[in-house]
Each structure stands twice: as structure tokens, then as C-alpha cells.
Subunit: 99 residues, 5 copies
């Protein structure tokens, strides 16, 4: 999976039936230290993530294993909102401290 | 998923049975600010997107979850025509304004 | 999907059962203007493409959705031989004209 | 598959049901000589790998073939803890010697 | 699929059940002219390839379509040992001549 920060939303009236009613968000991918990788992905959110939150993104067919997504043409889903990331014993991200 | 702009079409007489009757389009991938990434993908269109429109592209096996695509050898589908993209509260793309 | 030009063939006596009798080709990936991307892929051909022809390549599990490929360990298939590519109303590739 | 070194962990309270109770780790991908590639992946650990250990990571839908993962939205799993890597007859990594 | 040269092996005692008894090899990916791409992949060998041999590697879910691999968490398999590669009518690789 990949780490990312939710930065925005995408609105589309004309879309595949499976995408109706889904919240489609823009996620900037980040490194472990929360610096931007310069890449982004458009993902369906299933955990209620808001702009600014650090999330876990799952890609590929596994995105369809996310709850309620089996019949949705989606290749990226937000599957978790992160509380913290710890690298080599150091807390590099802490939601309560950093957001 | 990825954002892209439809720029053209591909015509092929000799092709896999599953691709017969499909509209195959060339999509230039774009960043959130609609600048070109320099990459493109050839995708089957299922939502009636025209050249110039900004679309959402789904890749991999999920492309086959798009309506009517389950038996089609396709790894990229246009699944939505975008109305708008909002990043950090700013409308970076608005179909009515920008196209 | 991706655009490519067939440039050669691969021969292997010792191989997985599923690959027996398959034509395995080397495809140089190209941009829309037919310039080389510098990347190539080894793909199973199912439409009878010859060296020099411009083709459409499908990747991943969708390669196995190509006719006759469901039990073949293949992650790339040639699924179409292109007649033409039109970008922004300009014919950038025309088989009858360019080959 | 890819080689990596476990460097940390990710904690998330709000997450997809399938991820509940899973150990989610940060893995820095490494080359055969154990030098860092500069890339990392967030993976679910199913073999009990600890920080500092060199592991094998499987990606994509195959991550869900890992024991107990079939209904989990996961695109990367740690599937082995490496004892040694031998390249051209030279032992480039040996857990007993190097860790 | 991709071309590669087998350069070594990986040994792991603690691993997913599905990987038990499998030969896990390190494969350096090569271009058509057999020059190294600088990338490598760890793949399960099912055709008895030895170090130094030029092989065909299949990736993703298709690796599990390789004989005996359906329940194995593997995203890359060696599916053929190459005899020759011919590009633009020129034999760029010939096992009998080059190895």
C-alpha cells in the first residue's frame, strides 16, 4: 500500500454506474517523513477521510476487496486513516501532534 | 484512478473479438492542475467522452469491471467525464469554465 | 493499453505448458507519433501481427481475457493491429500511408 | 517479488474491516546488495518479521493469496524472512553474518 | 513479459506455506540486446533455469497461472528458458552461441 494525504475531490455527473454515490478524492502520495513524492492518485474513499488527513491507499484489484467495492470499477481506495507512523523507533508522523 | 484528457482515437480492423465495436481512445494523462504528465494511455470509452474532455481512467483488472467489459481484453477504461476538480478548496478544473 | 511496433520474436523450447505453440513477440513501445519510448515488452500475439506492424498491447490479467489465453501464464498480449491513429484531428499514423 | 528491509510500523484506528488486527509495516525496498532503492512499500506482515529484518514482499492480487489474506484489501504482503541471498556464487546477504 | 538473466538465489526458512519447496531466484532484467536494465526481480522458477540462463519472466496475477502456482503468493515466475531472440531479422541472442 502507499501513504498519501487527501488534498481534494473530483466531481463527475457522467460516470460508470458503479461509481455513483462514491466519494472520489485526490490523494498526494507521501514518503514516510510525510514529504510529497510528487505523485498523486484519484481514489474512492470508504473510511470517511477528510482533506488534510494522512491515509493508506490500496491499488489494483485489491481496491475492489475494500468493503462494498466488489462491483465498482476502481483501482485505488482509501482503506485507512493513519494515527501514526513509526520508523526506526522514531515517531515520524503522529496525527494528534502533526495535524 | 488517473486523470486524463481525451486527445484522439485508434482504429483497428484486425483485433480481438472482445474489442469489436468498442471506441478506443487516446488519453493524455494530466496532473491535478491539468498540465500534461507526458504520459498517455489507450483506453476503451464507456461513457461517451469526446476529444478535449477531462476524464477519469481506471486501469488493470478493474477496467473489466466497467459496465459491459467483463469479457473484453482491456486494461484501461474511461469511467467518468469530470465536471470539476477541487484541490485545497480551490477549483483547479471546472468543465463549464475551462472547456 | 499501449501502442507498440513488433520488432522480433523469442524462441524457447523449455517453457510452461501453457505457452506451447504460442507466438511470442518483442514489441517496442511507441508514443502516439510512433516515436520509440525506449521500452519494450514481450507479448503473445493472437491476431497475426508481423514484424513492423503497429499494434495494441494489453497488459496484466486482462491479457488472459484475450481469446484462448485464459489458462496461459501471459501478462501481455497483442490484441489489435492498428490501421490508424488520429490525434487532435490529425492522422499521426496511417498503416496504408506509413508502412 | 521484491526484497526489502522492515523499518517501521503504521497504526490506524479507522480502517477497512479486513485490515483489523493486521500488522502493517513499512518496508524499504533494497537491491540485491542490500543497498536502498529509495522506494518503500507499506505491507501487511504474515510471517512475524521484525524491524531490521530482510524480507520478501509480494505485490498485487498475489498479496491476497498469502495465508489468511483472501478477503483483505491488501496489495503488498511480507511473505518470507530471508536467511541469505547468493548472487553469482557470492553470498551477498547472510542473516547470521550481517544482522 | 520481460527478459532476464538468472543471477542468484534467495533462501528463506520462515515463509508463507505456499512458498515451501519453491526455488526462488534473482533475475536481472535485460534489454533485447541482453544489456542489463539495472532492475531485478525475485521470481519463482518452474522450468528449471540455472544461473546464467536467459529467461522469460511473467508478472502479476498471471504468475499464478504458471503450472502449480495457483495457490502460491507469487507475483513473478520464470516461465521459459530462451533459445534465441531475433530482432529485425538479426539474431541478437542465441543460447548455443552466446552462453
Amino acid at each position: 500500500m502507499e501513504l498519501g494525504k487527501v488534498v481534494g475531490t473530483v466531481v463527475a455527473t457522467r460516470k460508470d454506474e458503479g461509481l455513483k454515490g462514491r466519494k472520489i478524492q485526490v490523494v498526494n502520495l507521501v514518503n514516510c517523513d510525510m514529504s510529497a513524492t510528487g505523485e498523486f492518485v484519484v481514489a474512492v474513499d470508504t473510511v470517511g477521510a477528510g482533506v488534510g488527513e494522512v491515509v493508506l491507499v490500496v491499488r489494483g484489484s485489491s481496491a475492489r476487496v475494500t468493503t462494498g467495492m466488489s462491483a465498482v470499477p476502481v483501482d485505488a481506495c482509501i482503506v485507512a486513516i493513519l494515527d501514526s507512523v513509526e520508523i526506526q523507533g522514531k515517531r515520524v508522523f503522529d496525527k494528534a501532534r502533526d495535524l
